[in-house]
């Protein structure tokens, strides 16, 4: 039994999972420390609120509110659980977007822009095609594909300037983000899609259910009553599996990854490097656009169209989702759920304590910071393991620890040059 565990431990994947779990724990601990500092330095808050906020930070998903006496209660909360799955849907897809680009050596910080363009296309198609003429499920499909296509086209722009003019994709992505933010407000400003029926709402677009278009619930609403969950989460999981197959089991995936590892060597090997760079950004964009489509086609979400002042967080949160999953498409499903759980936690903290939801953003940022040197953490783990093995086997250090010598070439080394080509 012990031998099996240590064999599992030696595998790259297990170490990645361990490194990610450590990052998460440290992130949560940092959040707790900041709550503690804030609570102690402010006499109005006090230790009682700190203890409540920290408990919610770790267990907020299972929070069921307060008892009559004011104590926090915990238990199975179907609304939180269902909402977590619903909010995980776009996060999984933007996470996949960043992950696929990262595997091919590109840092896709343009997911917010691609997400916005996907949103605009989806909403215009879902609301613009009359369901009296075209059946609603077909409109859903058209709008979904349209969102993905718009995202893909928007992702092509940084891909093209990177491939043809060698402009750093990070800068190009950031510029296209802000251009998208203004373009989307421009598209909806004065358009027929603005929600004028409900006069209390300003600057919102109609829900797609206004036109009878919404994602099927597929029975999930019975599992998690009163929550927003729908079949979108299953679509997202299917897409994640497809991406896993594309990246790891097909020639195209191999070519994309080869270009990321070394563009010039791939060209020497007969791979069209420029085409592949554009293609991988297009795929990344399509994924982010699909995420937007699934979120806004649910029928119970509204889009605030005055977007020019800020970019959607979902796009940026794709970065931690991908990094935490070490760019593994299957891992993204789980880290996406973790991130949306943090979202729910933040909501509970805001509702039940004097603290606010930004604490979860701090946790996320800490996790991203740690994943920048996850390699160092992994080496540390490996070193400890090695030492313990040596102690156990009495100095007989076998070929077990050979990987540590060439480990830096494995995952982060590839992207070290990511921003260095401006």
């Amino acid at each position: 039994m012990k031998g099996k565990v240590s064999k599992l431990w030696r595998r790259e994947g297990a170490q990645s999972v361990a490194a990610s779990l450590i990052s998460i724990l440290i992130g949560l601990a940092v959040g707790a420390v900041i709550i503690l500092i804030m609570g102690l330095s402010n006499p109005d808050l006090g230790l009682g609120t700190v203890w409540e906020a920290v408990r919610l930070e770790f267990l907020g998903l299972f929070s069921t509110g307060r008892t009559a006496t004011g104590a926090l209660t915990f238990g199975f909360n179907p609304v939180s659980m269902g909402d977590m799955l619903f909010r995980a849907t776009p996060l999984i897809l933007t996470g996949l977007s960043v992950a696929v680009a990262y595997k091919t050596g590109l840092f896709n910080i343009g997911a917010p822009g691609q997400y916005l363009m996907g949103t605009a296309a989806t909403l215009m198609l879902a609301l613009g095609i009359p369901t009296q003429v075209v059946p609603a499920p077909l409109v859903w499909l058209i709008a979904f594909l349209g969102g993905a296509l718009a995202g893909a086209l928007w992702g092509c722009i940084p891909g093209l300037v990177k491939a043809l003019l060698n402009i750093n994709e990070v800068l190009a992505c950031i510029m296209t983000n802000w251009i998208a933010a203004n373009l989307v407000s421009w598209i909806f400003d004065g358009s027929q899609f603005r929600n004028l029926a409900e006069s209390t709402k300003s600057a919102y677009i109609y829900k797609t259910s206004f036109n009878g278009v919404q994602t099927a619930k597929l029975g999930l609403d019975q599992l998690f009553p009163n929550s927003q969950v729908n079949g979108g989460i299953l679509v997202a999981i299917v897409i994640a599996v497809l991406m896993y197959i594309l990246m790891n089991k097909t020639t195209l995936g191999y070519q994309l990854k080869a270009c990321g590892a070394n563009r010039h060597a791939s060209r020497y090997a007969g791979i069209a490097d420029k085409r592949n760079i554009v293609l991988s950004m297009a795929i990344a964009g399509a994924l982010a656009g699909a995420g937007a489509a699934l979120y806004y086609l649910s029928g119970n979400t509204e889009f605030y169209w005055n977007t020019y002042q800020s970019l959607p967080d979902v796009g940026f949160n794709g970065i931690p989702v991908a990094l935490l999953a070490v760019s593994n498409p299957i891992g993204v499903v789980f880290t996406g759920c973790f991130m949306s759980m943090l979202d729910v936690v933040g909501q509970q903290i805001t509702n039940l304590t004097p603290y606010n939801e930004y604490i979860t953003d701090i946790i996320v940022a800490t996790i991203v910071y740690l994943s920048a040197f996850s390699l160092a953490i992994k080496l540390l783990l490996r070193g400890r393991r090695k030492r313990r093995l040596e102690e156990a086997e009495g100095g007989k250090s076998g070929p077990v620890d050979a990987p540590s010598a060439h480990a830096p070439a494995t995952d982060l080394g590839r992207t070290g040059k990511g921003g260095g080509e401006g």
Partner: protein
């Protein structure tokens, strides 16, 4: 015209300083993608400092007597504090990228996520809303230099130069220009500057000549953080009426673009930031822009959507990057963690 020049300066000067911040980091070999985050953090620290000092009542007497020299000192103090804390914040980046050899792009992104999160978390608790303001009054009444400070009456004219460069300006703008010039000289005309730049071009060679590459990279990134933090506060002071809300509208990223467009050289950067400042100014105030002073608001009357003007700075950046990418020459070793054992 006066209005146009003043507004352009308000946008161009912080941009220029923050672009120089980028140069210091990149010349030492560290990609500082965190400029945006450090600006947000610096803006928050500066505004918080102003707020706390006002609550303590330190400058109340000076304000009551309209002692504008003391108030300018207050402004400089706030700038210094935000620069200090910007430098401290940037240590997170240098620690990750120098000591732990982390991916600098991800490290910078982490700081960009961290800054608004921290800032908004604190602001929400301190102010119970998402914007932190000055405790009393506004930036104009406390910090703006006005013609009455020079003994001019309400109806007296100061002449073109006076009304453009003295009336209704901030001392911070001129301090930034001074710092820009001094630091550009430091980077390009001194021994220290040469050593710093050598760490961004060929750190192995620099190390072989006895230069401590790690130390130089720490210094470069810390200066970068200090400049960006100060730039963030100056931006908040002059364009956001001394308020902080966890956002500088992509200014840090624009500064990075200015740096690349300016080819990592101070004079080019100064020119580039004036150009970008002009476009930012047009985007912000196109509807009230009277270019030649004849009472005709030309840009407004063209009938182009305001969304287009707001998009313009970013569109121009992308276009400019596309045209200049062929001759742009980044520091050779930027973004590559320095490893002593590597050949």
């Amino acid at each position: 015209m006066t209005f146009l020049i003043q507004q352009t300066m308000l946008y161009a000067i912080p941009l220029m300083v923050v672009a120089l911040a980028g140069v210091f980091a990149e010349r030492s070999g560290i990609i500082n993608l965190a400029l945006e985050g450090i600006m947000i953090f610096g803006a928050f620290i500066g505004v918080l400092f102003v707020n706390l000092v006002q609550q303590a009542g330190v400058f109340d007497a000076a304000y009551a007597q309209d002692n504008w020299i003391a108030l300018q000192g207050f402004e400089l103090l706030a700038m210094a504090v935000s620069a200090l804390m910007g430098g401290v914040f940037s240590l997170l980046l240098s620690f990750a990228s120098v000591n732990l050899k982390a991916d600098q792009t991800i490290g910078g992104t982490a700081l960009n996520l961290m800054a608004p999160a921290l800032v908004l978390f604190f602001i929400r608790i301190i102010a119970s809303q998402n914007t932190l303001q000055m405790a009393t009054g506004n930036a104009a009444s406390w910090f703006m230099i006005q013609k009455s400070d020079f003994g001019y009456g309400r109806n007296e004219e100061m002449g073109f130069l006076g009304s453009t460069f003295l009336d209704r300006t901030y001392l911070a703008t001129y301090v930034c220009i001074l710092i820009f010039v001094l630091l550009a000289i430091l980077l390009y005309k001194t021994r220290f500057g040469l050593r710093l730049r050598s760490c961004g071009e060929n750190p192995q060679a620099a190390d072989s000549l006895g230069i401590n590459v790690y130390k130089m990279r720490y210094i470069g990134t810390t200066i970068s953080g200090a400049l960006a933090g100060m730039g963030g506060f100056v931006y908040a002071l002059t364009t956001a009426n001394c308020t902080a809300n966890g956002d500088v509208a992509g200014f840090g990223f624009l500064a990075l673009a200015v740096m690349i467009f300016g080819n990592w050289k101070p004079l080019n950067i100064a020119g580039a930031s004036l150009l970008f400042g002009l476009f930012k100014c047009i985007a912000a105030s196109y509807s009230s822009l009277d270019i030649n002073g004849d009472g005709v608001f030309l840009l407004n009357e063209l009938g182009i959507s305001s969304h287009f003007y707001r998009m313009l700075p970013y569109l121009i950046t992308l276009a400019v990057l596309a045209f200049t990418s062929k001759r742009s020459r980044a520091p050779k070793a930027e973004g590559i963690p320095y490893d002593k054992g590597q050949r």
